[in-house]
Symmetry: C2
Subunit: 157 residues, 2 copies
């Protein structure tokens, strides 16, 4: 078990691309998306993972992650997951001592670009890059589990 | 992914004990117990497993099972699982070419004894032992996920 401490921001422009890697395509879905815990299946590159996260306490939550066979993940995504699978490309972007992850969503969530950064402590100092705009860490709408149920394309204008 | 094909019966007396092994103590809980899938955490003997099962189609359902660290299972059981943990002792009982599993429930489900047998095919011939009474394969009340929410002790008399 690990503790995930993460802050999340809207991305306001493309300046992050200058420092980004080539990105990794990800497809993920939710076996369960509940208040007290989520169970996620993710295909990323050539690997697959099952991830369980507990309820959020501020910007922290417990996280359990296991490698699973890719074929299992594909079947679960096709047959057991609720909502719309999340398809996105994740880029790693180093900035001022942290590695940010920029998620460029596709499909039903196309148009949405989010930046996340994992911290060691909730009160850790963070230098926000110019391309990171409004913080949305506590906003449920931007949780991937919620985007699976209520994709960005379905949001009121 | 495997397919679990299983029949379940009420146990009417103790005659099964003559052929039974010493049994294994199990504690299990549910991260999610939904119509379309369940996510179970189980401690059994010195091991721990995470098991995902799909919706039932007759007596069959898809099943994905992974070994996980025991410490993870204990934390999940304590912090993330819904309902009452299921505590039971499972005995293996060979009978007429099949290995039956007899679950003697404890705690909030004490008094309940169920026998399960896994089959290779849904229409496989099965010789029912004398101690196996009414079949409850399709009865949701006897699903462990349901017993976790509505323990036997809470059932109307």
């Amino acid at each position: 078990m690990a503790t995930e401490i993460e802050r999340k921001f809207l991305v306001v422009d493309d300046a992050w691309r200058e420092q980004a890697d080539a990105g990794t395509e990800m497809v993920q879905g939710y076996l369960a998306a509940q208040e007290h815990c989520t169970v996620r299946v993710r295909l990323a590159g050539s690997g697959a993972k099952l991830t369980i996260k507990g309820a959020s306490a501020g910007i922290s939550r417990s996280e359990y992650e296991y490698d699973i066979p890719e074929v299992d993940a594909r079947t679960m995504l096709g047959e057991l997951c609720e909502g719309t699978p999340i398809v996105k490309r994740r880029y790693r972007v180093p900035h001022a001592g942290h590695v940010w992850e920029v998620d460029v969503f596709e499909g039903a969530n196309a148009g949405l670009v989010l930046a996340e950064v994992e911290l060691d402590r909730a009160d850790e100092a963070l230098e926000r890059p110019s391309w990171a705009g409004e913080e949305v860490s506590g906003d449920h709408r931007y949780y991937n589990a919620c985007l699976s149920r209520y994709p960005y394309a379905s949001w009121p204008a």
